[in-house]
């Protein structure tokens, strides 16, 4: 996997923001697993291992104007776009305060109109077409907004992937297609999903740029995404970005990945964990130390605790609302 090196020392402030969101995403994610084990959250699907890619990519957009169509792993993306930890946990607990669906959808089926997060479903890859459509509207209305669709590499085998990329390319739409390639679709390894090494290789068949980036490096991800966003905003059309990441957990709380991944593979993968990796990188650059780390962890832990309290205190949806919102 090609690892893009950053030549110039990146902006420390940006790196600190990246790290904050990565740690927040990680600690919040860990909390949802605890809630699951305690029987309080029936289902968890996790972004652990994807944080660098999600945060690095999301920070390259302007949440004030841009539009994202995330998929279920994208906790890091929605946090950057402004969904609060309390809102996130309320989704996990199926509370009426869940901004994504008022407790109707499974957790991590993100959606938040005010935060420019388009509601997503479970059937994979449909969001690729929705992002293409939001970009079509932005272009038609002469707005500068860029849209993004996030998805896994397994999902690129769906027809919707192809139809979306082709359409976006023909119409030169301001949309970025972001593949978080963790090498697995549940249990199925990439080599059984496709006969190519890089999803980005598909881009040329649509006449758009395709870039493969080390998704464990948030700075490299940020830079690749920024370039694609600038290109799209300038009216030069879509890009396909592929971030190679690791899925540190089972597919979901209903999965047991020991049945298809060896202990060695799992151990090797843990050594690639992007969160400590990025921390070491900042330490090497002299922009991070233990005191900062302790301070950050404490702050984030409080945020997560607070989020849990807020969500738990919220009410479950009233059964009488079952019939609401079928039509407008």
């Amino acid at each position: 996997m090609p690892r893009t090196r950053v030549k110039n020392a990146p902006d420390p402030e940006l790196m600190h923001r990246m790290y904050y969101y990565m740690v927040l995403a990680r600690m919040l994610d860990e909390r949802t697993w605890i809630l699951n084990r305690q029987g309080r959250a029936p289902f968890v699907i996790s972004g652990q291992g994807h944080e660098a890619a999600q945060v690095g990519a999301a920070l390259a957009f302007d949440p004030e104007v841009d539009i994202v169509c995330p998929y279920y792993r994208d906790l890091g993306v929605v946090l950057v776009f402004g969904m609060t930890p309390g809102e996130v946990v309320s989704g996990h607990l199926g509370r009426s305060t869940d901004p994504s669906s008022g407790g109707r959808q499974m957790p991590s089926h993100w959606g938040h109109r005010a935060r420019h997060i388009i509601t997503g479903s479970s059937p994979v890859a449909t969001q690729i077409l929705h992002a293409t459509g939001t970009a079509l509207a932005s272009k038609a209305r002469g707005e500068k907004a860029v849209s993004a669709a996030f998805f896994g590499e397994g999902s690129t085998n769906q027809g919707d992937f192809h139809e979306g990329l082709n359409f976006a390319s023909v119409h030169k739409l301001p949309v970025i297609f972001i593949c978080e390639n963790n090498g697995y679709a549940i249990s199925v390894p990439q080599r059984k999903q496709m006969a190519i090494a890089n999803v980005a290789a598909r881009a040329q068949g649509y006449g758009m740029p395709g870039v493969t980036v080390d998704g464990l490096d948030p700075v490299a991800v940020y830079e690749a995404t920024k370039a694609a966003v600038d290109r799209a905003r300038a009216g030069d059309g879509p890009s396909l970005l592929e971030f190679k990441v690791v899925r540190l957990t089972a597919h979901s709380s209903d999965d047991d990945d020991k049945s298809y991944r060896s202990p060695e593979e799992l151990a090797a993968m843990r050594r690639e964990d992007p969160v400590p990796r990025f921390k070491s990188r900042m330490e090497e650059l002299g922009i991070w130390d233990d005191a900062k780390e302790q301070d950050l962890r404490k702050r984030v832990r409080e945020e997560v605790d607070q989020a849990t309290r807020v969500a738990e205190a919220a009410s479950l949806p009233d059964p009488d609302t079952l019939l609401l919102h079928v039509y407008g």
């Binding site: 407790g103 499974m106 059937p123 769906q158 249990s187 199925v188």
Partner: protein, 328 residues
């Protein structure tokens, strides 16, 4: 004779059929090493090899579309759709192709395949892992739609489906997988498609159902007997296409009161067809209006426990509806 779960019955039937018919192949998402997300195909790849039990790319149209070609060319494919909710990307291949290939070729080609799909809710599956999809397919001549309620029926109906020369949609209720147990004879047997089964004899009222709600209806019938002195007959349709019209009319004539129970949403659900048949052929045998108890008319089942419960057909709801009708 062994006692086993519904899920085990599916697996053991697949195993038994694969041992006797080398034409059978199974494929779908995660069906290989992982044994399927529900573990239905666990151990089958180990026994029959990767050639006969294959993980497929994440692409439902491809799964069903290739199964059509393989069936025409002499195999007996049993494609698995991971959740019935994800069958819609393959709707085109099932409805436009598989269902009409025999008809459009004037009998020259046929598509003997069994598309297995877990359906149904009450398992925290929310809008995309809970759906009952039978009405979409029951509407299509050329397809057969099978929905067993018990481990015994699973075996006989699955074997018949595999032997059938036409495409079969075989719907297995996720809630039944581990909660429903029953005796299953070791030897092979066939249950003809299109033969309903009186699961419980009764005289006061008929409950007509199919799939998992047959089991709920049996629980309700027992309570009606014990607590209310109402004798309820329970007719299990077992297959909604072909449909056992004679059995529907027979139970109607016997009790004169019919409650149709299904989990799918009410309007346009298969219960409407059952109701029309009774109205056309047995109106004057009725002592009360036909009643339907089904899911509400919302697009799909929500996640939060309060909402999910409000959606689901349950033994208690069946009991109350049946009692109401019995006292009409």
């Amino acid at each position: 004779m062994a006692v086993m779960t519904y899920l085990e019955s599916v697996r053991e039937t697949l195993r038994q059929e694969m041992r006797r018919d080398p034409r059978i192949i199974i494929y779908g998402e995660d069906v290989g090493v992982r044994g399927g997300v529900f573990r239905v195909t666990e151990g089958l790849q180990a026994e029959f090899g990767e050639e006969r039990v294959m993980d497929s790319p994440l692409a439902e149209a491809a799964i069903v579309g290739t199964a059509i070609g393989a069936a025409i060319n002499g195999l007996r494919p049993i494609p698995e759709i991971q959740f019935a909710d994800f069958i819609f990307p393959a709707f085109n291949q099932i409805v436009e192709e598989a269902a009409r290939i025999r008809y459009r070729s004037n009998g020259d080609f046929g598509v003997p395949m069994v598309v297995r799909a877990p359906y149904g809710g009450g398992i925290h599956g929310a809008l995309y892992h809970s759906q009952s999809v039978e009405a979409f397919f029951a509407h299509v001549p050329g397809l057969k739609v099978v929905m067993p309620a018990t481990p015994y029926d699973v075996k006989g109906l699955l074997a018949s489906s595999i032997e059938d020369e036409d495409p079969v949609i075989f719907l297995e209720h996720k809630g039944a997988y581990r909660s429903i147990r029953g005796e299953v004879p070791d030897e092979r047997y066939l249950i003809p498609l299109g033969s309903a089964d009186v699961k419980r004899q009764g005289t006061d009222i008929s409950i007509i159902s199919w799939g998992m709600t047959v089991n709920f209806s049996l629980t309700a019938a027992q309570k009606l007997e014990q607590e209310d002195g109402v004798s309820a007959e329970v007719l299990d349709l077992r297959t909604v296409r072909p449909l056992d019209v004679d059995a529907i009319l027979a139970t109607t004539k016997k009790t004169g009161k019919v409650l149709i129970v299904y989990e799918d949403n009410l309007t346009g659900g298969f219960g409407g067809e059952v109701s029309a048949i009774i109205a056309e052929h047995a109106l004057f045998d009725l002592d009360a209006p036909i009643r339907r108890l089904a899911g509400p008319d919302v697009p799909a089942m929500p996640y939060a426990p309060t909402l999910e419960h409000a959606f689901m057909v349950t033994p208690d709801k069946i009991h109350d509806a049946a009692l109401n009708l019995a006292r009409f």
